[in-house]
Amino acid sequence: MSRTPSGAGSPGAAPSKLDTVEHAAATPDIEQPWAELGLKKDEYERVREVLGRRPTGAELAMYSVMWSEHCSYKSSKKHLRQFGEKAPHSDALLVGIGENAGVVDIGQGYAVTFKVESHNHPSYVEPYQGAATGVGGIVRDIIAMGARPVAVVDPLRFGAADHPDTKRVLPGVVAGIGGYGNCLGLPNIGGETVFDACYQGNPLVNAGAIGVMRHDDIHLAKASGAGNKVILYGARTGGDGIGGASILASETFDDAKPSKRPAVQVGDPFQEKLLIECTLEAFAEKLVVGMQDLGAAGLSCATSELASNGSGGMRVTLDDVPLRDSTLSPEEILMSESQERMCAVVEPEKVARFLEICDKWDVIATVIGEVTDGDRLEIYWHGEKIVDVDARTVAHEGPVYDRPYRRPQWQDALQADDANALPRAADSAELRAQVLKLVASPNQASKAWITSQYDHFVQGNTVLAQPEDSGMLRVDEETGLGIALATDGNGRYTKLDPYTGAQLALAEAYRNVATTGARPLAVSDCLNFGSPEDPAVMWQFTEAIRGLADACQVLGTPVTGGNVSLYNQTGEAAIHPTPVIAVLGVIDDVARRTPSAFAEEGHQLYLLGETAEEFGGSAWSQVVHDHLGGLPPKVDLERERLLADVLIAASRDGMIAAAHDLSDGGLIQAVTESCLRGGRGARLVVPAGLSASTFLFSESAGRAVVAVPRSEEARFTGMCGARGLPAARIGVVDGDAVEVQGEFSLPLSELRDAYEATIPGLLA
């Protein structure tokens, strides 16, 4: 390694000379590697303008990471504003967009915070560690709000199921998510696993976390109060995840090979578990004024955001940062993304107690600076000032782009390629074969191989977990108050129509929450798209945001926060636009949750909602015809609301024994799953006016199937009738086969084999 111990300044300076603020002011003409650090020419010029001089090496490091797409949202900011502008009024929203995570009131003095983030690229490079550190990062966001993390979820997307590289990526990702989450003691209560060739080379590894706190424990990332101390605690800072900073740290550009600093870090879940415990103990003793996790952009981000959200003044002595590698330069320390670190702002008289708690948990904690009266973020190294900036310009006043967007030319042709025109099964035998093929297809098959690698029991509050429609947790043991969470996304629908696709994702997650008996309250999202520099992708992105914001308005569920992941593409080929939507719900007593298993013979099966011929983007069109075209199912948000109301009321009044929402795969997929879960068969009758194929495979939105005990039938149908929700009796729980009268009968054992063998077979 050829780095100089004290850290070289900018190239051209003598290696031993530190690039101080003073030096920068005196040497305006030195060439700086802004391009290598990912800044555009005009962005670099803007930095010089903001500072009134050239930046020091350290300042350049900070601006370059903080003004990156990942940290500044420069391509998406303009559009994300809609989530705030169109937000429906909600009394439940305690903290909205802009903080580490939004906070929602669930009653009885409890508040919940939840968020989903992407860790796509690292997980492709090093599946285990990439996914593991993704979980670590999202959990720190939750702790930073003052909440105890109570569960994680993991929406995942991989390339084709039978592609050899999927065999490398998937097991590693799953083991990493499990390895980290299990070791933290967080139950995994849901997620998604989707295969599609479009994700080859760009797997989507999204990780979500939920935390619970009391109202008065909410903490914001804010450094206020001159004299308050800034404490860095957790892991030592190392040379991992530095990326471009090594360019700054090297003596010349030439010896800065890009591979020198790996972009992937190794996670230490044990360290993170200690961080959780000591942070919560510090919160409980009211020792903390402000709190920030260290994620992307490490200390650059934490210091500038804490300062910027406060009065703006902060002085940091970088020499006090505990290092794992004593040769790190100040630029590298500022940019390092070493995992498992947090930053707290603490009043001086409480510092001793804070450090004591860290010591109890064997967590290294160091005062690295203090809040100052001024409005400058100043950073010192070896007694010299190397950063002197207005923190806001780093953290919040980065560039904003209005990137061009244009509906792609191919969109019309894609939509014209109508899936409803695809040939249907010619006879009952073919229909039966199609059902088996559907149930056994990788996207529809059982995900138990994956989900059994996740602890869903730990913490002792898991009421529902996979494979239920949503995960559900008990929050209060006395009252039974609980929360539910579901995540959904459908890249195929969104490709066909981004506006509708995003709404369908929201509608499905919303429906999944209501299906279990919980009332949907709030939304978080993770927007995975290709390159924003491609106007077609940018159009998909803007349409999806518009669709989501509009739908949230109708459903009354505000977006509380989210995450944007762009540049998911290989060469010219972008992934399907994939907004992943998480919906959080509340249930006043988890004892009345609705499970999805058909557990008792004789229960009547009702199909709620209306079924039309809608095959565009469907699983059937993919599995049977390898086809993607036409329009996605229509969205009727008022209907979704009504359906949710009915499902919640039926759960509250004990009218239904089971419910399962209908989504990809249609009715037959849902019935098969509920039958297999309960170990009971079902006899179904195709309703008049529908073809068997449409009845079984159509993916019309706003539907669910419920099992109603005979004793409740009149009351239940009466309620549906009174509220105007179509409810058709389609069969009964019975026997040990799924039988569609006049068409076919499929023994449960045959269905089970088809459903359960696929994923293990692919990954063995």
Partner: protein
């Protein structure tokens, strides 16, 4: 075995001895709170114990809970074994105090040589979490009297390092002395992992899920009884509750005698 109830206090209402069961928290323990809850549900008093303390307070028995103490780095249980609290636990266990090790706690007990054998990574190399069928082989230990020998129960299994290994001589001895307390029963598995050589969910030799020491006061098992004590959460069953009522009864009857 001899039970020496230090259970002196009585809870006024029932006049019943107040049985105090310590639950050790190591850094990285995860199921410690759940174990405390299960103890409370069974009617005893859970007492949190901290790994850095040598003292066990006034407890009558100790549970080493599940989790990933010290991240399970090096080997599961290998670092916790050297904690101050374990010095006392080992001492008191040798004097006859009942000790139960669940999952990570079982791993700590083997590393501390309170129980023979060792725990290795699951044979299929995956973490496994599922509802597991077990057969109770020995209903005579301090922790299993409320079961019947031969009874089949379902409790959650969730671990990475659950493969019980010992040499043949040790295994034969365990069998001969009735010290195999639980065995994995059936392989009603829907996860699709290839069946292990040993027909157990993790490759444990002779399908051993739990064992005890010669005196029967120290029991270790991989599955988690504390997660099968409340019908609303976990597996929806309460098959794990008898662990905690057994130990309660051990003391209540010991005190009455």
């Amino acid at each position: 075995m001899t039970v020496r109830p230090s259970a002196t206090a009585t809870d006024g209402s029932a006049g019943r001895p107040n049985v105090r069961i310590g639950v050790v928290t190591f850094p990285g323990s995860l199921d410690d709170r759940d174990t405390q809850r299960a103890i409370r549900l069974a009617g005893a008093e859970p007492v949190p114990l901290w790994h850095k303390d040598r003292s066990l307070g006034q407890v009558d028995a100790v549970v080493l809970p599940g989790g990933f103490s010290y991240g399970d780095y090096l080997r599961a249980g290998s670092i916790s074994r050297f904690s101050p609290v374990m010095g006392t636990v080992v001492e008191r266990a040798r004097e006859g105090m009942p000790v139960l090790g669940i999952c990570n706690g079982f791993q700590v007990l083997t590393e501390a040589h309170l129980l023979p054998g060792a725990m290795l990574g699951n044979e299929h190399l995956h973490f496994i979490c599922r509802d597991q069928k077990l057969r109770v082989e020995n209903a005579g230990t301090a922790w299993t009297t409320d079961y019947e020998a031969g009874q089949e129960i379902h409790i959650p299994l969730k671990n990475m390092d659950g493969r019980y290994v010992a040499d043949e001589r040790t295994l034969d001895m365990l069998e001969a002395e009735g010290r195999v307390v639980f065995r994995y029963a059936g392989d009603d598995d829907s996860t699709g992992y290839p069946p292990t050589e040993q027909a157990s969910p993790n490759g444990s030799l002779r399908r051993i899920a739990g064992i005890c020491n010669a005196e029967g006061n120290v029991v270790g098992l991989m599955p988690h009884p504390e997660h099968a004590t409340d019908p609303l959460v976990g597996t929806g069953r309460t098959d794990g509750l008898p662990f905690f009522t057994s130990i309660l009864r051990t003391f209540v009857e010991g005190a009455a005698a």
